[in-house]
Subunit: 340 residues, 2 copies
DNA sequence: CTGAAAGCGCTTACAG
DNA sequence: CTGAAAGCGCTTACAG
C-alpha cells in the first residue's frame, strides 16, 4: 500500500490540507518547523505523490502525447524519425515534460480515429509527419486539445513546423545543373507524405521551368526505403539514355541508389551523381559521402515541442514556421558524364 | 468542457452506473436496446473516457515507463537505443501498452533517485542499459513496482534480458585468430556500461588464455562513439608494432575506426581487420562492410517488454534470459598482414 | 434489475 | 491560522 497524504496526516495528527500545503507550497503559509516535520515524515513513510489524482484535480499532466508517422512496424528505425524523436526527447526533458507514446489506441481506424488520441493523460499532442490522408484535425480544435504538426501539409490545419521543401529542392536541382547535369531523375517518397508530395511537385515544376529533358519514369512516388532506391535505380539504368544524376527524396532512398550503383559497378560520381534530402545523420564510411539537402530536423522538432508547450500554457495558437534547407556537398555529386 | 458519464446519465435520465456498465460491459447485464441508446448518446456527445479517473480507481494504467540509458543529450541517436526503442515500441503496440518516457523526473540526482521514477501513471518500468552505478533497484521491489532490465549487470537485481557477452566476444576473437591475427587490440565502451565491462574483461581474459602478445593501450574503456574509435585508432597506429586487428566494443566505435583508417590510407582488411559488436543496423554502403558480432536486440527488447507485462499481470517475477550472439562476417576482416 | 453511494488520492475554496 | 468538505470522473460493492 503506497503512502497517501491521509496517512501522513494521521501520523502527525494534522489535516490532509496542511500536509498538502506543507509539501507543495501553494497559497497557505505553514510554520517552518511544521513543514520540516511533514517533509521528514513524508520521506520516512516513502510518500510518493499520486500524479493521477493530482492531474485529475488540476487538469494538467505535464505530459505531451506524441503521434509518430504511422505506427506500423519499424518507423522508429527511419533516420528521419530517429533524428526527430531524439530532439523531441531532449526538448521535452528541458521543459520538464514527460512523453507519452500513444500506441494502444485503435490503429485499425487509423487516421479517422483522432478521437482515440484525445487522452486525459496528456496536455497536448505532437504529430510527427502525419499522413496527408489524416484529415480530422478540426476535431481536435473542437475538443480543445492543443497540438502542433511537424512536416505536415497545408491540408492539415494547425501550427506547422517544417522545412521549406520548395527551396530545398531548388538547391538540389540547381546544384546538379551547375555541374552540367540535365538528364535528372527524381526518386520520391510515398504520396501519403506531405514532404514527398512537395518535393516531387517542385521537382516536376523545375524540370519544366528549366526545360530539362523528359523521359520515362523520371519522377515517381514510392516508399521511403533503401530497397525502393535500389529498385528504381535498376529501372532507370535500363533506359536507352539513363539519367546522369538522381535526386532522391530522402537519404535512405539515396543510400539505396548508392549501394546498388556500387554493386552494378556504376561509379559515383564519375558516371552518376546522387543527391539526397534530410542529412539525418546516417552513418557512412568509405567513399563517396552523400551530397544532400539538409533539413534542420533537430531545430524543427524542438520548436514543435516548445511551441506546443507554449500553446498549452497560453492557450493561444503559435505561429507556423518554415525553416530553410541548406546544401551539404560531399562526394556523391560531380560533373556530368556525357556519353561520347 | 468534456462530456462525462454524469452528463450522459442526466441526458438519458438513468444512473451513472448504468451508463458505465453499458459502455464498458462488466458484471451487470444491460438490455440491448438501452445499451445501444447509451452508446449512441456517448458518441453524439463526444464522450471520451477519462483514463486518469479510471486508473485512479482500477490501479491499472496499461502504460509502461521506459528509462533510457542516461538521459543526457542524444542517447536516442545511438544505434543501440534506436534498435531497442523501435522494438520496444512495436512490442508495446502489440500488447496494447502505451509508453511513458520519464524525462521530467529529477535527473540531477540521477541514479539515486529511482524514487522519482515510481509514478502512479505506469504499471511497471523497463530499464534500458542502466548504468552500473545505478544501484537502488531494491527500492523498487520494496515499493512493489514491477520492472525488467535490458543489458544490465548482475549487480542490479531483477529480471535481466541481455546478450551472452562472453560467448560473443569469444566469437570475435576466435574469428580473428582463425584469420591468423595475434596482435589484437580492443577498443571498449565506458566503464559505466555493463556490456562494456563484460566485453573488455572477456577480451582481457582471452588474451591471457590464448597467450596473445601484450602491448600498450591494448584494451581500454572509452565512450561508445565514433570519435572515440577514431582517436583510439590513431594512438594504436603510433605503436612500433601496431595491432593487425581491432575488436571494437560496439559498431559505432568500429565505424569510427574504419572511417579514420580510410582517411589514414590504411587499407581494410588488407592491412587491418576490424570487427564490431551489435549489428544494430548502421547504414553502410561502399566497402568494406563491417564484420560484427550480432546481438539479437529486437528479440531482447521485445522479451523485456513482454516479460514486464507478464510480471505486471501475474505479479510473479519472470526468468532472466541471455541470448547468444552470432558472428556476421562481411568485408572488414581478412587474413593477418604480417610485417615482412 | 437499477439507483445511490462510497471511494481512489489529490487540490483548494470554504468555514470556523 | 487550520480543519472539514467538496469535487475531479470514474468503478463497483451495496441497497432497495
Amino acid at each position: 500500500m503506497p503512502t497517501t497524504l491521509k496517512d501522513i496526516a494521521r501520523e502527525l495528527n494534522i489535516s490532509v490540507s496542511t500536509v498538502s500545503y506543507a509539501l507543495h507550497g501553494g497559497t497557505r503559509k505553514i510554520p517552518d518547523q511544521l513543514r520540516e516535520q511533514v517533509r521528514e515524515t513524508a520521506v520516512r513513510m516513502n510518500y510518493r505523490p499520486n500524479r493521477l489524482a493530482r492531474s485529475l484535480v488540476t487538469g494538467r499532466t505535464n505530459t505531451i502525447g506524441v503521434v509518430p508517422p504511422v505506427l506500423d512496424d519499424d518507423v522508429f528505425l527511419s533516420p528521419y524519425l530517429r533524428m526527430a524523436w531524439n530532439s523531441i526527447v531532449n526538448e521535452a526533458e528541458k521543459l520538464r515534460q514527460d512523453l507519452l507514446l500513444l500506441t494502444a489506441s485503435d490503429r485499425t481506424r487509423a487516421a479517422d480515429s483522432i478521437d482515440d488520441l484525445v487522452d486525459s493523460r496528456i496536455d497536448g499532442l505532437l504529430f510527427v509527419a502525419p499522413s496527408v490522408e489524416a484529415k480530422p484535425f478540426e476535431r481536435l480544435t473542437e475538443l480543445q486539445v492543443p497540438y502542433t504538426l511537424m512536416s505536415a501539409g497545408g491540408n492539415a490545419p494547425g501550427p506547422h513546423f517544417g522545412v521549406d521543401n520548395n527551396q530545398g529542392v531548388r538547391l538540389a536541382v540547381q546544384h546538379l545543373m551547375a555541374l552540367g547535369h540535365r538528364r535528372i531523375a527524381h526518386i520520391g517518397g510515398p504520396d501519403s507524405s506531405y514532404d514527398a508530395i512537395m518535393r516531387k511537385s517542385t521537382f516536376d515544376q523545375l524540370v519544366r521551368e528549366y526545360d530539362l529533358p523528359l523521359f520515362d519514369g523520371q519522377s515517381q512516388h514510392g516508399p521511403w526505403t533503401r530497397e525502393s532506391g535500389e529498385a528504381r535505380l535498376v529501372e532507370l539504368m535500363k533506359l536507352a539514355h539513363p539519367p546522369t544524376a538522381i535526386f532522391a527524396g530522402n537519404d535512405d532512398l539515396a543510400i539505396g541508389v548508392l549501394g546498388r550503383a556500387f554493386e552494378m559497378g556504376i561509379r559515383v560520381p564519375d558516371k552518376l551523381s546522387v543527391i539526397g534530402f534530410d542529412d539525418a545523420g546516417f552513418l557512412a564510411y568509405g567513399l563517396p559521402g552523400l551530397t544532400t539537402v539538409r533539413q534542420p530536423l533537430p531545430e524543427l522538432a524542438a520548436l514543435a515541442v516548445r511551441s506546443l508547450v507554449d500553446f498549452i500554457a497560453t492557450q493561444s495558437v503559435p505561429a507556423d514556421l518554415e525553416l530553410p534547407a541548406t546544401l551539404v556537398v560531399r562526394e556523391s555529386t560531380g560533373p556530368a558524364y556525357l556519353t561520347p
